[in-house]
């Protein structure tokens, strides 16, 4: 077990180094931070001097190694744009992103499972057709369009929900939450729905497909033959067996919800790490971009690690393989 985790951890470190390395290679092509930092009233000599001071003249691998060296000590530098420490900026904004991800994952999971079961049990009902078609729209419309559409309907026309932002927040030590105020709760509704639509569709279709599959298997037929109630068969036997892949996918999707809420955050001016990243890209704020990408890699790596460990515990075949020194 320990050897397994150690191996996994080692692989995770390699993944994160690779992400940082690729990021630094790409940063050379995203533009010049110096001209947006200095503005119009500056001479070329000023530009050269600042570039030298920031170490931007160094070859990218030197920049990369100094980044890794500093990152290992918890130093991510100072944002070119906002002149504040990057780690502080990210920590300040992380609660907003995590709360949004949590809310949208909950919506996606609950509605996805319920609708998935419903459409699997009534494959020929008219309402199933409607739900399946609507879900297609959900995956095919771009997120920003859905977001803007929801804003226009619920904020501009009906004036029932706020059009942007996070509302009032309550400070709980280092965590700023919007879940404890009315305006905070009202503010999270639209972005959470927008962000959840894709995952919702995915989970729903997955549950439906798995459920249909399971319902055709022999043990369900035998259960029916035993005269068990429909309810006991559907929820006690069929659903349990469909949930294994659903949990895996949901776990992995949670990572992408946290990491790629960028568009939703931008459309709703949600003050999370995604909108921080977008603002940083526009002015080539390299320290923030680098730290954000490493953070995203970390989220994925951690979630994958947890999933792997769970498999290890759940699946005896993996355990045996490890024992035999595979």
């Amino acid at each position: 077990m320990l050897a397994f985790i150690a191996r996994r951890l080692f692989q995770s470190v390699i993944v994160m180094l690779a992400v940082a390395f690729i990021a630094f290679m790409v940063f050379r092509y995203v533009g010049d931070p110096v001209s947006s930092m200095l503005g119009q009233d500056s001479t070329l000599a000023d530009h050269a001097a600042l570039r030298e001071r920031l170490g931007l003249n160094e070859p990218f691998y030197i920049q990369f190694f100094s980044f890794v060296g500093n990152a290992l000590q918890g130093q991510f530098g100072i944002s070119y744009r906002l002149q504040q420490p990057v780690s502080q900026l990210i920590m300040e904004r992380l609660p907003a992103t995590i709360e949004l991800a949590f809310a949208s994952a909950s919506i996606a999971l609950v509605l996805g499972v319920v609708l998935g079961i419903y459409t699997a049990l009534r494959p020929r009902a008219f309402s199933t057709g409607v739900i399946m078609t609507a879900s297609l729209i959900g995956v095919s419309l771009p997120t920003f369009l859905i977001g803007i559409g929801l804003i226009y309907v619920f904020a501009v026309e009906l004036k029932v929900l706020p059009s942007f932002g996070r509302g009032e927040v309550v400070d709980l030590g280092w965590w700023r939450t919007g879940f404890l105020t009315e305006s905070g709760l009202r503010s999270i509704i639209l972005p959470a729905i927008t962000l959840s639509l894709f995952q919702l569709t995915l989970i729903m279709r997955l549950v439906r497909a798995e459920m249909l599959e399971v319902l055709r298997t022999d043990y369900i037929r035998f259960a029916k033959a035993r005269g068990l109630s429909q309810r006991a068969i559907n929820f006690g036997h069929a659903l349990k067996n469909t949930m294994v892949p659903v949990i895996t996918i949901t776990g992995l999707q949670l990572g992408s919800v946290i990491a790629f809420a960028i568009i939703t955050e931008t459309v709703f001016q949600w003050p999370g790490v995604g909108s921080l990243f977008v603002n940083s890209v526009a002015v080539v704020d390299v320290p923030v971009m680098a730290a954000y990408l490493v953070f995203v890699a970390l989220v994925f790596v951690v979630i994958n690690l947890i999933v792997d460990i769970l498999y290890f515990i759940v699946d005896p075949r993996l355990r045996d393989g490890a024992k035999s020194g595979r």
Binding site: Y29, V30, G31, D32, P33, S35, S36, M37, L38, G39, Q40, D41, S42, T43, L44, A45, D46, H47, L50, R53, L54, G55, Q75, G77, I78, Y80, R81, L82, Q83, Q84, P85, L89, I148, I151, Y152, A155, V156, K159, P162, S163, F164, G165, R166, T266, V267, F268, Q269, P271, S275, L276, V278, N279, A282, V283, V284
Partner: protein, 526 residues
């Protein structure tokens, strides 16, 4: 029973009306991005200055007409017996937000800080040799030589309290490379009409009125500043009543907002000209099929290119009427602008083709146009339109469109043959344009002279503008320079941008030519 109810109602109404008079007026103000820092000398950037003008004050500033008006300085003049010294008389009785008195030593400290190594404003004070306090309310600025227009350079140089800065250890400007944030980036102590109440970067900043301000109490007593990056969301926020004033209104939304009940749009000219530039010199262009000469170096080709440019069509179609076409690369506020210079020729495709043939390019030529796509209003669309117009006279243009962060290095590194750029003139004087766009490129001048235009005779005249104290003679030199610049078609101006602010119908906020609206100028309708 009936009458007593009426009486109660009357009393209630009267009391709410009374409360209404005394009530604080909050304005929720949204624009596309946040102020970058609260350190007033760290960034030379419009959004940051606009926000800072509410908290800090400058010696002088500009009203909505672009005229220089007194602020912390009540008078300014060149010292009688020494043309190299500017004297500023300071306003008395001004207090900082922490209660400290405003005196000459604060001005000396702030000007010295603004021209220090780490400051992004230092270029504006490059001619300053020494700043000294004569008495509590008089400051003398010793220049390197005669600098007749120095007062134009101080309109964004904010005055900090010397004692406060020393106490909080912020005598130095924030250093990007230092790896830590200084106190002044997040905390303020100005003399301005508003005090910072709270600030969450990129989310919201709240300012409340400073009771000890020397000016007349503003109608707006609280400002909630809300950066909203997405255009559609920003407009939706106004329409849904979540904000009161929106700056940075996209061109395509202006008409719709004007027609929406309960909202209005204030428009006005901005101090920013949009122009095309091209490479001068004999060397062949990098992106052209003509490999033995540089077509742009031929005046006939440049004339043909101007005749191909249909400025009115760009104004009507691309800008939907929201621009002011111009024939000279300077906004009308700027000293040196004349109506005559502003004239531009009517487009003439036939004549343009003849000129190209005459110049030796009867089949035209090919070239790449570099354009930003997120910096100016509809910048990419302007370039696209011009590409079509040049196609009509046989010039085959490939458009290379990039975000400004990638466009800037190409411009500053001289890696372009043909480009679009915009230029604002914060000093409101033509010399600012000549120094950076027309003077031969050197370490200190011609930073944005991307095309490499070089005219030694003009260079001499441009340098003389810096020290000429006879303002009439100086204006005459400016006129001479413009004549040559226009005749040589050093730049190909398209239009001056206009600004649009959208707001609730009962609010009036005039457009400021530098796009620096101030909430003290807000008027509420009865």
């Amino acid at each position: 029973m009936h009458t007593s109810l009426t009486r109660i109602a009357a009393v209630l109404i009267a009391s709410t009306m009374l409360a209404g008079v005394a009530q604080a007026e909050t304005v929720r103000w949204a624009r596309s991005s946040d102020s970058l820092t609260l350190d007033p000398h760290s960034q030379n950037q419009g959004v940051t200055h606009t926000f800072a003008h509410h908290i800090y004050e400058t010696l002088m500033w500009r009203d909505t007409e672009g005229t220089l008006i007194p602020r912390l300085a009540t008078e300014w003049y060149v010292k009688e017996d020494d043309p190299t010294v500017w004297v500023f008389k300071l306003r008395e009785g001004v207090k900082f937000h922490d209660g400290a008195d405003f005196t000459a030593e604060d001005v000396v400290f702030s000007l010295d800080r603004a021209r220090s190594e780490g400051s992004n404003l230092k270029q504006l004070h490059a001619e300053v040799a020494e700043v000294r306090a004569v008495d509590d309310y008089t400051v003398e600025v010793q220049m390197v030589g005669p600098s007749p227009l120095y007062p134009n350079n101080v309109t964004n140089t904010f005055i900090m309290d010397k004692t406060w800065s020393e106490t909080n250890n912020v005598e130095e400007v924030q250093d990007f490379a230092a790896g830590e944030s200084n106190y002044a980036v997040l905390n303020t102590n100005g003399t301005g009409p508003y005090m910072l109440t709270s600030r969450e970067v990129d989310v919201r900043s709240v300012l409340s009125v400073f009771d000890g301000w020397w000016g007349e109490a503003p109608a707006v007593t609280e400002i909630v500043y809300l950066p909203i990056a997405d255009n559609a969301t920003r407009i939706a926020a106004l329409l849904s009543g979540d904000v009161d004033i929106v700056q940075d209104v996209p061109v395509q939304d202006i008409e719709r907002l004007q027609n929406s009940a309960g909202f209005k749009v204030e428009t006005g000219p901005e101090n920013r000209v949009i122009y095309f530039g091209y490479r001068f010199g004999d060397e062949p262009l990098r992106s052209s099929n003509i490999t033995d000469s540089n077509p742009f170096d031929n005046p006939l080709v440049r004339e043909a290119m101007e005749l191909a440019l249909d400025r009115d069509a760009i104004q009507q179609v691309v800008m939907r009427g929201n621009s002011i076409p111009t024939g000279v690369a300077t906004p009308p506020f700027v000293n040196g602008w004349t109506e005559e210079l502003d004239q531009y020729p009517a487009p003439d495709v036939e004549r343009a083709k003849e000129l190209l043939a005459e110049a030796g390019y009867p089949d035209g030529f090919s070239v790449t146009l570099d354009t930003p796509n997120n910096r100016y209003v509809n910048d990419e669309a302007i370039s696209t339109a011009y590409v079509g117009m040049l196609g009509q006279i046989g010039i085959d243009v490939t458009l290379a469109s990039r975000p400004i962060a990638e466009h800037s290095p190409i411009i500053l590194g001289d890696e372009t043959d043909f480009y679009l750029l915009g230029w604002g003139v914060p000093t409101f004087d033509s010399a600012y344009i000549f120094n950076d766009l027309v003077h031969t490129k050197t370490d200190t001048h011609g930073t944005y002279n991307v095309g490499g235009y070089s005219n030694p005779e003009l260079d001499e005249k441009i340098i003389s503008l810096g020290t000429e104290t006879d303002l009439d003679a100086r204006d005459a030199t400016i006129a001479e320079i413009w004549e040559v610049v226009k005749a040589d078609r050093v730049l190909l101006p398209v239009h001056n941008q206009t600004l649009a602010y959208a707001m609730r119908e009962d609010i009036t906020l005039p457009v400021h030519p530098e796009n620096q609206p101030n909430m003290t100028t807000v008027v509420f309708a009865e």
